[in-house]
């Protein structure tokens, strides 16, 4: 394709990406550097329906309007939003690592900081769910591939159901099933012979349930991609392997898996990105007490409260983007090398 044609084809996409992806990200980055103007407070008398008046503090709206008109973005604060207690907590880190406490104590103080606690769960979710979901998807793909033709359609449909169900709805359904009065919760109590066992009460069990949910909901994506890949495995190579006396396991290990490797890189890339933004299961399982993620922190700053903290939410968003980039670097480097090798 001539360069001109290519540019003409690609131009609308580039424009849309600039407008709807790059610009918003840039605006979030700018926002994250600002804090609100210093509040001008006045003391006023408030009178309410429950008897009497009290003196209370109020924002002087006229003075604030003037400040805002002069500098609509607020005060420039540099990296303050990134470094404060609710994010990277530099001062707390200095305190934790400055004192001569034991390793376990250091870890527990670190996990007491909101950002690191969220980061710990986010990373665990990424690195546990991604490989397990890919393995699950691969196994399902192999199994479905051996089914007789008539049964393949229904089997594929059932296998991709978890992907079709809206994540929030899926996590709510599982959450109710794991309720002590739900089918899984009650069965587990009966199996463990412990009427007080509750999967939602202990942090470890909550993590396990959410990770299980993650594998369940992410498996189908790997399945679909791997199943498509399986259709392209060269039959002659497989056949010659079989003639050489390879078992089914050996054929899978030495023919199918190497053939699907580039696909696996692609799936890992997409899944890591997706899983780093884990959010729905935390809300669906009401797991805020035991598990939080970076995306949940953004949500908490913006939505569920009386006061919205845009600077704080923006700082967390930017750090989420940076986190995704760091995660993707090894995979991207690998892809780049493969590409170069093929060209050479």
């Amino acid at each position: 394709m001539p360069h001109r044609t290519f540019a003409a084809f690609i131009f609308p996409s580039i424009l849309a990406m600039l407008l709807f992806i790059t610009l918003p990200i840039f605006s979030v980055m700018v926002q994250s550097m600002f804090i609100e103007h210093p509040a001008v407070l006045t003391t006023v008398e408030n009178c309410g329906p429950f008897g009497g008046c009290t003196t209370e503090t109020k924002v002087d709206t006229v003075a604030m309007a003037k400040l805002k008109a002069e500098a609509p973005m607020g005060q420039f604060a540099g990296l303050a939003n990134y470094l404060n207690h609710n994010h990277l907590a530099i001062d707390d880190l200095r305190e934790i690592f400055g004192t001569k406490s034991g390793f376990a104590e250091k870890v527990s103080s670190l996990m007491n900081l909101p950002f690191y606690r969220a980061l710990a769960f986010t990373l665990t979710y990424c690195f546990v769910v991604t490989p397990l979901a890919m393995a699950l998807g691969f196994c399902i793909a192999l199994a479905v591939n051996t089914l007789p033709r008539l049964m393949k359609g229904p089997a594929i449909f059932v296998s991709i159901l978890p992907m079709i169900i809206t994540p929030l709805v899926g996590s709510l359904i599982l959450s109710w099933m794991f309720n002590p009065e739900g089918i899984f919760g009650a069965t587990l109590q009966w199996l463990a012979n412990d009427p007080k066992l509750s999967l939602r009460a202990s942090p470890v069990l909550t993590w396990i349930v959410i990770l299980t949910y993650g594998v369940w909901t992410n498996g189908p994506f790997s399945f679909v991609v791997f199943y498509a890949g399986l259709q392209t495995v060269p039959m002659d190579t497989l056949e010659s392997a079989r003639i050489d006396g390879a078992t089914r396991w050996q054929a899978t290990r030495f023919v199918i898996i190497p053939h699907l490797m580039p696909l696996a890189t692609f799936v890992a890339l997409v899944q890591l990105m997706d899983n780093f933004r884990v959010f729905e299961p935390i809300v669906g399982f009401s797991a805020q007490a035991n598990a939080t993620s970076l995306s949940w922190m953004v949500y908490n700053d913006l939505v569920s409260q009386d006061a919205q903290q845009f600077g704080s939410a923006a700082a967390t968003s930017v750090m989420t983007i940076i986190g995704v980039l760091i995660l993707l670097t090894p995979v991207l480097i690998r892809t780049w090398r493969d590409f170069n090798r093929k060209v050479a």
Binding site: I35, E36, H37, P38, A39, L41, T42, T43, V44, E45, N46, C47, G48, P49, F50, G51, C53, E56, T57, K58, V59, T61, V62, M64, A65, G74, Q75, A77, A80, N81, N84, H85, N86, D92, N112, P114, P180, K196, S198, R200, A201, P203, F285, S286, A287, Q288, A289, N290, T292, N300, L302, V303, S304, Q305, D306, A307, Q308, Q309, G311, S312
Partner: protein
């Protein structure tokens, strides 16, 4: 296009509701002088739906009435009222949700409108800030005690008056084998958990902030006593207590699994509704003021009011029409027809059985939810800072320290602290 369609559908739904509620009255207008557009944004619970429906009765050739009742109202109201002209003319607010509107100067003083059209309003309905009427309250709300008459009778107990009584009673109920988990509270980390702390802390009579500043002042014996009580109660709760919010509490109450709990007055009516609620539980459900704490004399619960305010960025005609429609919507006639859905603050209201708790809180001298501009930030800090404590993973001192650190960071970002 889509927007307009949604609006039309919403308007249709409201006028349909008005037809049911007001019968033929929906067709006659309510005597609004002048012309204008009335656009209401409100939270979504039954009493507010009744008010919205009554406001819709005012629609005529010259006055258009639409309403949007949504639980997301707090997130919508700021941007919607900042626009000029504002997307909504009326914002229904409560103690806490009026604060962001006041901070940004998005609602208008109502004194002249009250003088002109407010003959039906009582003096205690006028929410005055700095001497100016900024909102008209029409109902009270708050968390108060729900108790099971049958369980208390079987255990030989009186209705508890203090949290110390609640704990003692819970132990007796559990020891007698009447109930495995007699207590419940909305301890889900988030808004609900923070509200539990705020309620009890108000009951101690202490201040949240150093006088006249945004400096946090909850790291004291009162704060520790409140946390200690919250933790002690969890021993008598279902192990899933960390996942219970107010709506979940209603469900486990209705299932008959709890004997004592603090729950919203606005949900009291539904709990004793003989048609919708579990019959055995409903018949044995009693209400009382919230318990006191730590030897205090006032119910340990925040008093809330719900009311309406009028947007600033709208024409004076729209403001006048909106005010008149809302005054009609909360008129003594509306309230008389729906006296059971809320604890109304309106002239001629006779409290029913579901209002006992909120009335008890008010007459007992409970304090209103604080209206300081930085209270919302504290509520946020409490909502996540107390999670580890209530889960039993850290002690009270650490929890108060976490809350302070998190509040200080957001108060600096909000411009309230240097």
């Amino acid at each position: 296009m889509n927007m307009k369609l949604t609006k039309a559908v919403a308007a249709g739904a409201v006028s349909f509701a008005a037809l049911i509620a007001g019968g033929g009255a929906a067709l006659a207008d309510c005597g609004i002088q002048g012309a204008g557009s009335v656009r209401i944004l409100s939270n979504d619970f039954e009493a507010l739906r009744v008010v919205n429906a009554a406001a819709a009765e005012c629609a005529n050739d010259k006055v258009k009435v639409t309403s949007n009742a949504t639980a997301e109202h707090k997130n919508i109201q700021g941007p919607a009222l900042t626009a000029n002209p504002a997307e909504y003319t009326v914002a229904m607010v409560a103690n806490n949700s009026i604060v962001p509107l006041l901070n940004d100067g998005l609602i208008r003083p109502l004194d002249d409108l009250v003088a002109k059209y407010g003959a039906d309003l009582q003096p205690n309905q006028l929410i005055k800030i700095d001497g100016k009427v900024m909102a008209i309250a029409f109902m009270g709300n708050g968390q108060h005690l729900f108790y099971r008459k049958d369980i208390l009778a079987k255990a030989g107990l009186d209705v508890p008056k203090s949290y110390e009584d609640v704990l003692a009673d819970a132990k007796i109920i559990k020891d007698k084998g009447l109930m495995e988990y007699p207590l419940a509270a909305s301890d889900k980390p988030g808004w609900d958990l923070a509200a539990e702390f705020v309620n009890m802390y108000l009951g101690t009579g202490a201040e949240f902030f150093a006088p006249g500043s945004a400096e946090l002042a909850i790291d004291n014996d009162n704060g520790r006593k409140v946390l200690e009580t919250m933790r002690a109660m969890t021993k008598f709760m279902n192990p899933d207590y960390l996942t219970y919010d107010a709506n979940e509490l209603s469900k486990i109450w209705d299932a008959g699994n709890v004997a004592l709990m603090n729950q919203w007055g606005s949900l009291a009516g539904a709990a004793i509704d003989p048609v919708k609620a579990n019959k055995d539980v409903a018949a044995n459900t009693g209400f009382a003021a919230a318990p006191t704490i730590s030897g205090g004399s006032i119910p340990a619960a925040a008093l809330w009011w719900d009311g309406f305010s009028i947007a600033k960025n709208i024409s004076d005609d729209d403001a006048a029409a909106s005010f008149q429609a809302m005054v009609h919507a909360i008129s003594p006639a509306t309230v008389a027809a729906h006296s059971e859905v809320a604890t109304w603050l309106v002239k001629g209201y006779v409290p029913g059985p579901a209002a006992i708790g909120v009335m008890g809180n008010a007459t007992g001298g409970a304090k209103p939810y604080p209206m300081q501009p930085y209270m919302g930030l504290l509520h946020t800090a409490l909502s996540s800072g107390l999670a580890d404590f209530i889960a039993g993973k850290e002690d009270a001192d650490q929890a108060l320290k976490d809350v302070k650190a998190s509040y200080d960071a957001s108060a600096k970002e909000g411009g309230f602290l240097k």
